[in-house]
Amino acid sequence: MTEVSDERATQAITVLLVEDDAPTLWRLQDALTKSGFEVTAAATLAEARASLAGSGPKVLLTDLQLPDGHGIELIRETRQRFPETEIMVISILGDEASVISAITVGATGYLLKDAFPTDIAQTVRDLVAGHSPISASIARFIVRRTQNQAEPPPGPPLDTVKLTPREIDILWGIAKGFSYAEIAEHLGLSRQTVPGHIKNIYRKLEVHTRGEAVFEALQQGLIRL
């Protein structure tokens, strides 16, 4: 992070938005711009890489299926080059196949394409504030992976061994629709610490190995899906 970006962060949060469907791009861009974000739009992987040539944005919002490549690659590159950048996946369904894959390469949240404009802005703002959103279905997917099963269930590969029992409890709460406050109360936590736990969960699910094999497997699994 350079001094310039720090200075700009105080004024406006920079967002790199990568989406190949023009109406969707407009919609998201409108919602974010109206809320005071500084948005750079890209429709292809090449354009996104070009705008990442210099410095990294505060937030990267990317679709996964791009005309010239896969959003997973972009997320991984960004994660490696700009560790401070918050990364979110734009998904139509918020399905675990795409979201979990993105999480394992460094994404810390997802955004539904049809979310209401106010929700879009709020989600990004929360993300910057350190509150990674996590949906009930994603939490459900993760906790079911922590249960020992003879045969790995279908879906992207996910390594959950690093999760602590408390983090798994929190995920169970989210999966069952409890609010952060309810979860905190159940587990005897402070309400404010729950988002931090969730962010930790994201970090732990990220695949840190430089080995290409994991990434290949991930990508292949995703492409097959």
Partner: protein
């Protein structure tokens, strides 16, 4: 044999088959004839005898008060002469103490190769041998020889007196074979040879019979359904007892028992015959038990009759009975050879031929119709039968083992084939089940998409064609997306925990309500939320979630509610069985319900009908209360969700 040949059934009409069978049988008969001839030839061979110069054959016999000169071997005429036995007086010369190196040196003996039944030998008036003390010698069927060393002090140079008293009992006439007096070292080898053949060999055979008895008894004990072995074991045990229990004359306390044992041969033969009939699969004849009659009569005679009567009865009844059994046995075995042509029958047949030949020989010897020295071989030839039985059993056992091996091998192959087949059919079945599940799932998915997404997309098409762009299209499209997510979400495996599905629903409902500025209160009264239902299926989840969606939509669209409260709890029914309850309360205007439970409002009415139909399909008890203060939709979940969609599409 002719009967057997005639008895062949018309089933053997194939000439080829019949010819082969006749040829085989002729072969069998020929072999039996050869065996008989061989036996006769072997019996013709006389046993080696000591040098003739030691033979003492000129005797003066005193029998029944009459004295005359006889030449040994000699048959007495009298029969019961235990008290007044025939006395044979003869002379022999002893060369005296000859110089060393000559034959005459050392002890001299009297050697009696064969006598019947007992003999007392006296030299120069002093008794040196009484064969009645020797139990083996007392068996007339054993041909036991005797030898006695003459004490040197008794011997006189040149002429010595030799007196033999021949004791005879039984219906047999007395018999005294040639007598030898000579140096012990010359005579003894001949004695030993006869002892080996007529005393030791029968003991060996009897030992073999004892072993057979034990083996057969064990076989019968283990395989009770084959009584043939038990019967044969009884026969063998009887034979062993007869051979080993001592037989001594004038031992009154055992005489009855001895008499029974001596007469046991017919019973033993009857047992052997019974065995052969059972073993060779013959039907037991109606009066089959009669074959034991001669044996039993003999036992009765032995128990109550005198010694002389027993002997008479044995010779007159027992011996012919044994002969009849042998002939019957030969016929039975021949029949079996004819029908089955197996090794066991064949071996048994050969043995029977040997024994039968021996029996005929003995009878002829008793009747003095053969120029024989009264050597009885029936008992000895019986050993051929014992060997045959042992061999037959061993062959049968080995074959059974082979059969078991083959059977086991076949079984292994069959099991493997069955396994393969099963695996194949399992794979097929799995394939079929998978296909069926897929088809079912496709049907369900289609119905779900038709119910929600399809209708909404059609609605979008209609709205966009009207060119009336704006909120309605957006709402319809959003609803379509929401439904798509619901369908996808419901397909996830939630392990029967409905709370996991409600968690996602809460998220979607919250997002839906936020633009309308309606708060969604979420109250889980029980810590675990709802009971887990392992039978919960995706289609149940979809119905429940859509039901809740309708409740929320009604509250938003028609009731104008500001706050919606969802309460989740687990309750126990009267029988203490836990069931779940989901309640959706709103603070809207409510709606008037008709007496029949339908809503007055037309649109709301359709929604209510939908809700009821969904609840019914899932076995949910739906409660609807609506009033000025708001509306309450309550879902009492079933204890068990129905397996099939009762209400259909």
């Amino acid at each position: 044999m002719k009967d057997e040949a005639a008895a062949t059934t018309p089933g053997f009409s194939i000439p080829e088959h019949r010819r082969l069978r006749v040829a085989r049988f002729a072969q069998y008969i020929l072999i039996q004839a050869l065996i008989a001839v061989a036996c006769i030839f072997a019996l013709r061979q006389s046993l080696p005898e000591p040098p003739a110069r030691y033979l003492v054959s000129e005797f003066s016999a005193k029998e029944g008060g009459v004295e005359r000169a006889v030449t040994l071997p000699h048959y007495t005429s009298s029969r019961f002469s235990l008290n007044d036995p025939p006395v044979y007086s003869g002379r022999f010369a002893w060369p005296g103490n000859s110089p060393p190196g000559t034959e005459a040196q050392g002890a001299w003996s009297v050697y009696l190769p064969r006598f019947s039944n007992g003999v007392e030998v006296a030299v120069n008036g002093v008794v040196i041998l009484d064969s009645r003390r020797d139990p083996v010698a007392n068996r007339p069927d054993r041909n036991a020889p005797e030898i006695a060393v003459i004490p040197a002090s008794l011997l006189r140079e040149k002429a010595n007196d030799l007196t033999l008293r021949l004791f005879v009992w039984g219906p047999l006439t007395g018999f005294l074979d040639s007598v030898y007096v000579g140096p012990d070292q010359t005579l003894r080898p001949y004695f030993e040879q006869r002892t080996l053949l007529f005393v030791t060999l029968p003991v060996v055979v009897s030992a073999w019979q004892a072993i057979l008895a034990v083996i057969l008894a064990i076989m019968w004990a283990v395989r009770r359904r084959e009584p043939a072995y038990g019967i044969l074991a009884a026969a063998m045990a009887l034979g062993v007892a007869q051979a080993f229990l001592p037989v001594a004359v004038e031992q009154s306390q055992y005489s009855r028992l001895n008499a029974i044992l001596i007469t046991s041969a017919p019973i033993e033969s009857a047992f052997v015959l019974t065995f052969a009939m059972l073993f060779l699969g013959l039907r037991w004849p109606r009066y089959g038990a009669l074959i034991f009659a001669p044996g039993l009569i003999l036992v009765a005679v032995a128990l109550f009759g005198g010694q002389a009567l027993v002997s008479e009865a044995f010779v007159l009844l027992g011996v012919p009975a044994i002969g009849v059994y042998m002939v019957l046995l030969a016929l039975i075995v021949a029949r079996s050879v004819w029908k089955r042509h197996d090794v066991a029958s064949f071996v048994l047949g050969c043995a029977v031929t040997v024994v039968l030949t021996g029996w005929i020989h003995d009878v002829l010897a008793v009747l003095q119709m053969t120029p024989d020295r009264r050597i009885f071989i029936a008992r000895l030839s019986y050993s051929a039968m014992l060997v045959a039985i042992g061999a037959g059993l061993t062959v049968r056992f080995a074959r059974a083992l082979n059969q078991v091996d083959r059977f086991a091998g076949r079984l292994v192959t069959q099991v493997r084939q069955a396994e393969d087949k099963l695996k194949e059919s399992f794979v097929r079945e799995e394939e079929r089940a998978r296909a069926a599940a897929l088809a079912l799932e496709r049907t369900r998915l289609m119905r779900d998409l038709h119910d929600g997404l399809g209708g909404q997309l059609v609605s979008i098409v209609a709205l966009s064609e009207r060119g009336d762009a704006g909120v309605p299209i957006g709402d319809a499209a959003r609803a379509a997306l929401k439904d798509l997510r619901l369908v996808i979400d419901s397909m996830d495996d939630i392990g029967g925990d409905l709370m996991l599905a409600l968690g996602s629903w809460r998220e979607r409902a919250t997002a839906q309500l936020r633009p309308h500025d309606i708060a969604l209160d979420w109250r889980a009264l029980s810590p675990q939320g709802l009971p887990v239902h392992p039978e919960l299926r995706p289609w149940h989840v979809i119905q429940i979630v859509r039901l809740l969606d309708e409740a929320v939509t009604n509250a938003v669209k028609h009731a104008g509610a500001r706050r919606i409260t969802v309460t989740i709890e687990t309750l126990a029914d009267a029988s203490d069985f836990a069931y779940g309850r989901i309640t959706v309360d709103d603070d809207g205007r409510g709606f008037a319900l008709m007496p029949d439970g339908a809503a007055a409002d037309k649109k709301a009415g359709r929604g209510l009908r939908n809700m009821r139909s969904r609840a019914t399909r899932c076995g949910i008890e739906l409660e609807l209360i609506s009033g000025a203060g708001g509306t309450r939709v309550r879902l009492n979940l079933p204890r068990r969700f129905p397996d099939s969609d009762a209400a259909g599409a």
